[in-house]
Symmetry: D2
Subunit: 407 residues, 4 copies
């Protein structure tokens, strides 16, 4: 024991009800270390922060470094020192020792001052631009830019559990089909109203199942009633929605039976062809080809949308951003100011957007499968509430709840 290396850390915040302290203890033990709590002041009430000073011990320097790095992701601070930086070697190539961000708010110590990082999102480098650290995706870093290195001088503020248990906080991290769906949907509606009142934006990420499941009219209604500030999706959702609008009842078969009938997918291509001939979605609405649906309402009300390309696309529509790196940038722009995000039956786009959102954005992930919100959580979008239900049901009930005034 005598030969162990050790370091003293401090943590401050809602250490217990944000579950920080437990995870700190866990990580120390998991990494083969030991700890001793030297001081602990618990927040006496549910508004007061707690404070602790902990000595962490490990067998060698390398082990201690591992532990310290993990604990820094939980908000621990050790020696008070400035953050170190090194230049990006080439465009898109970081120094090996780069710090990789989480989606929690992060501060960087520069010249003795803690500066909050801009554009918070996970799995990014912290790049110094005009004196301010920015979260920048690897590929967007330019040669020579100063990139923060892991080690001292970086501090994260893990998400606090919501104090407002009546809204979203009450079931975070739980995923189950066994809840009273109506209650969760009511909470989502309340959250949307709060976000709207706060002047933040509501992002909707619909998958093609929204159309399959019969939820498109409800979603179109939400766009019409201005409950949607931006739509982020791919080619498939847009085409399904347009196809329904253009081929109307003669689409029939597929909407009736849910089966891929002989020749049925021709309608899909027909819709793409007709829209692309006019130039794109906006032109198709303006020309009167498209007279209903989610995309129609989006164009009519000026709701911005970004369609990201994917390898399985038919067509695609001219509106689709086929380069995925460019599309990711467009998503990022569109997400500015987001206060709330509805992920609707689209595993691909939900995970993509989870990668781009700060954890503080209230997020609900609606899917028929428990595995989608579970995956989302596994990939770090811990804030997403999983609601395992039919997306059509969700949208219809949500529309009703949004019309109900708050008590």
């Amino acid at each position: 024991m005598a030969e162990m290396v050790r370091e003293t850390l401090t943590l401050e915040g809602h250490l217990i009800d944000s579950d920080i302290l437990r995870r700190v203890f866990d990580r120390v033990v998991e990494e083969g270390g030991e700890f001793e709590v030297q001081e602990f002041r618990v927040g006496r009430t549910n508004d007061e922060p707690s404070y602790t000073r902990i000595e962490v011990r490990a067998r060698d320097e390398e082990g201690l470094d591992h532990i310290l790095e993990a604990l820094r992701y939980l908000g621990a601070t050790s020696q008070v020192a400035d953050c170190r930086f090194a230049p990006a070697e080439q465009d898109g190539i970081l120094p090996d020792d780069f710090y990789s961000t989480t989606n929690f708010d992060t501060s960087v110590r520069i010249d003795g001052r803690w500066v909050t990082a801009a554009d918070q999102k996970m799995d990014s480098a912290l790049v110094l631009r005009e004196g301010v650290p920015h979260c920048v995706k690897q590929r967007q870093v330019r040669q020579g830019e100063k990139v923060a290195l892991r080690g001292p001088g970086i501090r994260v503020r893990p998400l606090e559990r919501s104090r407002d248990y009546a809204v979203f906080g009450f079931m975070s991290n739980d995923v189950s089909a066994e809840v009273n769906k109506a209650i969760v949907i009511r909470a989502a509606a309340r959250e949307m109203k709060r976000v709207r009142a706060a002047g933040e934006r509501i992002v909707v990420v619909p998958g093609p199942a929204v159309v399959h499941s019969g939820g498109a009219p409800a979603l179109a209604g939400l766009v019409r009633d201005r409950w949607v500030d931006v739509i982020l999706t791919g080619n498939a959702f847009a085409v399904h929605d347009l196809e329904k609008a253009i081929v109307g009842t003669s689409l029939g078969v597929c909407q009736t039976s849910g089966r891929s009938v002989e020749g049925g997918s021709r309608n899909h291509l027909y819709a793409i062809n007709a829209v692309n001939r006019l130039g794109g979605v906006r032109q198709a609405v303006e020309a009167g080809l498209v007279k209903s649906g989610v995309m129609y309402e989006a164009v009519r009300h000026g709701t911005p949308f970004v369609l990201a390309g994917s390898i399985r696309d038919d067509g695609p529509l001219n509106d689709v951003v086929t380069d995925t790196v460019v599309a990711q940038k467009a998503y990022l722009e569109a997400l500015r100011g987001a206060g709330c995000c509805l992920m609707l039956a689209s595993a691909l786009h939900s995970i993509a957007i989870g990668n781009l959102l700060p954890a503080r954005v209230r997020t609900i992930c609606v899917d028929m499968l428990e595995s989608v919100p579970v995956k989302l959580g596994n990939r770090g979008t811990m804030q997403a509430i999983g609601l395992v239900t039919d997306v059509g049901y969700f949208l219809e009930r949500l529309a009703v709840e949004l019309q109900t005034p708050l008590p």
Copy 2:
């Protein structure tokens, strides 16, 4: 009844055991029509084709057209007439009346002769190039090219059920977790040997879960033993595989717990950074950075791979084709000569590749979820056998079976 419009059709082939005749009857009735079988000669043995002549009746011309179009997708031929063509209006814009292909072998009647279409795949236009109809994805059609129109002169040959019940045919269209997996895996191995003997190619489409689930060493072994002719996947699978190879045991945590631990995803970015710094996957193997795994074996043995970009990518690797339209073309090229396709726990890429394969390619889709092979079937990849199991299990057993000589 007197005022009904009518037309006489003929069909030839394995009308009963390929389930064609039943679907013909179904479609006539579903579309509100009536039929009268005027002649029927059943194949007397299981090698002889059947033949039938049917009169179809509908209330009006439009209804009859609908029925005829559907039946043509099932192989019905009516008036003997040449196929009609019209020029593509612009690059990527088809005449409204274009014929949309299935993944079944298709013939086009030109100047009184039936010509087999090249590059058979679903949801394509039939474009006349040097006198031969080619299946061409909408966006790849050039202005002025002659595009086949729906109507007479196009004939498909729906997939016949395999006569070789010992191999794949025995459970096509069935999807269930309730099968003896060992037996299905044995059949897959037999099929791979048959394909190999026939000089056709084996395509593997692995998702990141192959690495998560512990199946990567088995897949690397298959590549090493030359059981894999081409790997089609995305950034995520490749990065997971490389990360495991590069960060080795210090990746540790994630491979131990399966959780996205604090700071754990840094390893992901680190691997991308290290590989991209050297130029890409091949260079990383040649430089000795990567010394094991699927990508390593692929480089070492010259197994081609295509990595298609997606909106949720970290990085991505320099090898990734970020433009999805370009990536689709690269997939198409890589699929030439395919005789067998293993789709391994990747919904996105499986559906993408189903869109590009002729139905005659023997396909097995391994996933933990019944919904993935169900979706694949819904989208027209009817030939895919769904095996609901752990992909790691599949790969380990498959490797054993491939070493077992046939009896």
Copy 3:
């Protein structure tokens, strides 16, 4: 080939659109035999039956017997001969060569006359009682009763696909989350109205998830409006429903969060205790303890219910039939006259009831998981339409549709 054994069979009915002929061909080939179609007359229109005479060949007598037995389950008849019978050896013990029933209507040839079996259900013996063959579950057969043996003299009439494509027939055997749920629910409502008009009975089989998911008020409404003729379920559904009625808003926590909170399951036991103290469900309603919910409406309107015991029961309620053999008999009695069956999110009871229903009863199986209707089909309840959605959604929409008069 010369030394092959052979036999000639005839089949009559909707051989093609009921998919019989294809399965006949399949089975012959799967079992290693060969066939030759000696005569085939196809039904010329969609109302006319077809007829065929087929010679089947196998390598030896045993192989031929296998094939013939399989084909008999598909309705094939060979030599015209009476059915053979042998006495049950003991109570519940059948002669080894017993015939095992399907859920398709079955006739038995006795003294040269075809007699329709009574109480048709799968996996039963055919026992002669007062000259009529009855489908009797193994354990209910009494010593010395005459039991039909497999071989000639037994004929089944496989289910014909519904000609009424607007109702249930259109998607039988298909299971997918990717359908427009509203359309399927509308069809279910139409079917319930048809059944009601025909004087048949509507059976509902609810699982506890009906209460969890918030669907209980809608189901209670259906009982109140007399759309439910019998409720077959277990202890759990009834207790959840009663608990909600008795503990009301103080149940609170669980209905709010969907989690099993500390001490929360006490309410479950409290409800059981309170109901059992009064004697049972009926008494609890009469005493005014229970004033709402599905069980309340059932008691008030005299809707019969059977609660079958299971190994995971809390309590159970005094009303529960704890002996599963006795409960199965009670279910059987309650199912007489059934024309339609709604299986609502209960895998256990759905499979149990599938075992007891003739295939002609229109059945819909609503579940969040594709695997439940898939299992149901695997176990022979082929007639069940799988609807993959939230049961709460199903019930709310169904209630609306049932109030909508038919056009």
Copy 4:
């Protein structure tokens, strides 16, 4: 605020790393109360317990009671007072104010002394028998027996997270298909060896899918090698296993195709009939009818098994305990001394056994569906580790791991 009612509580134990303190704070706030931490001594190292004294405030007495009851389930103690008791009104009828147990170890204060409850399991009454409180299922309580009432004098000791992170503790409460299965299976094998060394018993709960999936030979091997001390299941698993043993290769079809083929379920009934004719499973093994499989090995090695009846049973076998209340008692007896429990693809029996086990029994739940372990956790069996994989894979790898000596 002045008019709030208040009470002071103390808690002791691993309050932070067992996640107790966070849940205490949560529950106070969720129930509308407030708290003030008056004293807190954190365990300085990972072996020392923590201690806290908290004042809880609520708006009224009823609210305070709610909070106190919830906190008692988390181990909080308030006034030091003896537990109150009241007599059971009738057989199976408890006083309304009964205390309902959890599966955590519980102590009851009697005459100033804390006495540990016997037969710990959830959802039971605490009945005083010979001076010791016993956990007794509601229905087993006899009239006049003294039943503990909720309120002071009852203390639970919530499960501590395992300190031995190399074994089971590392992923408790996590459910995901996205783990390296091999690592989890290795941990399960280690746990079985530990349990064996400690002289505790290993309980296996197999569902019929063990046979379907091809895992039966591996499980039979475990029984043969004495890794299984008791088998708790139902009729279906036993019949599937026996059917495979008896009908051998002629079962064929079903084992080959996984489909319910025409007439295929006759083999199921045949096996039941043959076994019951001889008297039961033991007799069928002794008579040489059954020569392989799990049940065969169990009989040969004297491994006890209990088969509980269910409403969906065919037959059932004579060995089946058809009365579910009696079967539950038999399960309980069989579970004495359990140290480890493997739940293998059987939702029904897994939940049943979770109801009967103390939380300290290490439990792993293997299923293809995330929803099964999620449900198990929702119902209070929090200790169960969910492993989402193919049960056949699990058993084969487990057998290999158990043969590997510990390093």
